[in-house]
Symmetry: C2
Subunit: 103 residues, 2 copies
Amino acid sequence: MNMSSYSCCSSSSGELKQVALLSLLLKIVSEESRLKILCILRQGEHCVCEIMEHVDLSQSLISHHLHDLKEIDVIYDEKRGLRVYYSLTDKGKHIVNLLFRII
Amino acid sequence: MNMSSYSCCSSSSGELKQVALLSLLLKIVSEESRLKILCILRQGEHCVCEIMEHVDLSQSLISHHLHDLKEIDVIYDEKRGLRVYYSLTDKGKHIVNLLFRII
DNA sequence: CTACTATATGAATATGAGTTCATATAGTTG
DNA sequence: CAACTATATGAACTCATATTCATATAGTAG
């Protein structure tokens, strides 16, 4: 491998795509409110109204954030009666654990 | 500790501030171009013109990104002649290593 | 000193993401 | 069924951030 054409992000290595995916993921979880929500779910399953007691955000906004987090598979939901309970997925636990090792 | 007042993100625990800081950090590094730059610097010191060979961004934009990354102390620079060489700080290495364990 | 190369910077613009608001859906209770 | 509670959703608006452009700085070479 010659250094002039070498790149850690060369398209041939496929790492470019990995960086794009990682970027997508991190952009979602890095937002402060969503990070707080993840932090809450780290303590275990919570429904939306419980989350509302912990963060100062409107019901609608929390719902939007949960939707975003669900889309990247870091959380999943389970409906019981009127309430929808959210939890971290294994992927979510893995990511949150790594992120909190940064500080 | 009673559960009604308990929160992983309660201001009393100081974790709120940590989440804010973590969010700030992650927002900077999660941007795709900056993530690519970090990925390049992971291979060792590079000057701006070398970085330009690896990513399809203008000199100006790369310079802006490097400025942002420097501000949060994940990279540092060293001027030698006309060129400015950038490298990961220890903090930067730590963070990048953790981030790439996510995928 | 002049011309040139490498990099930085600030202002203006464009783009994207967070927030709000009004409303919809779905389950519950009487 | 009607009234109520919990949550979701889409569109409009707002605000932050990326990008561009023109220009400045600083070192080098002749």
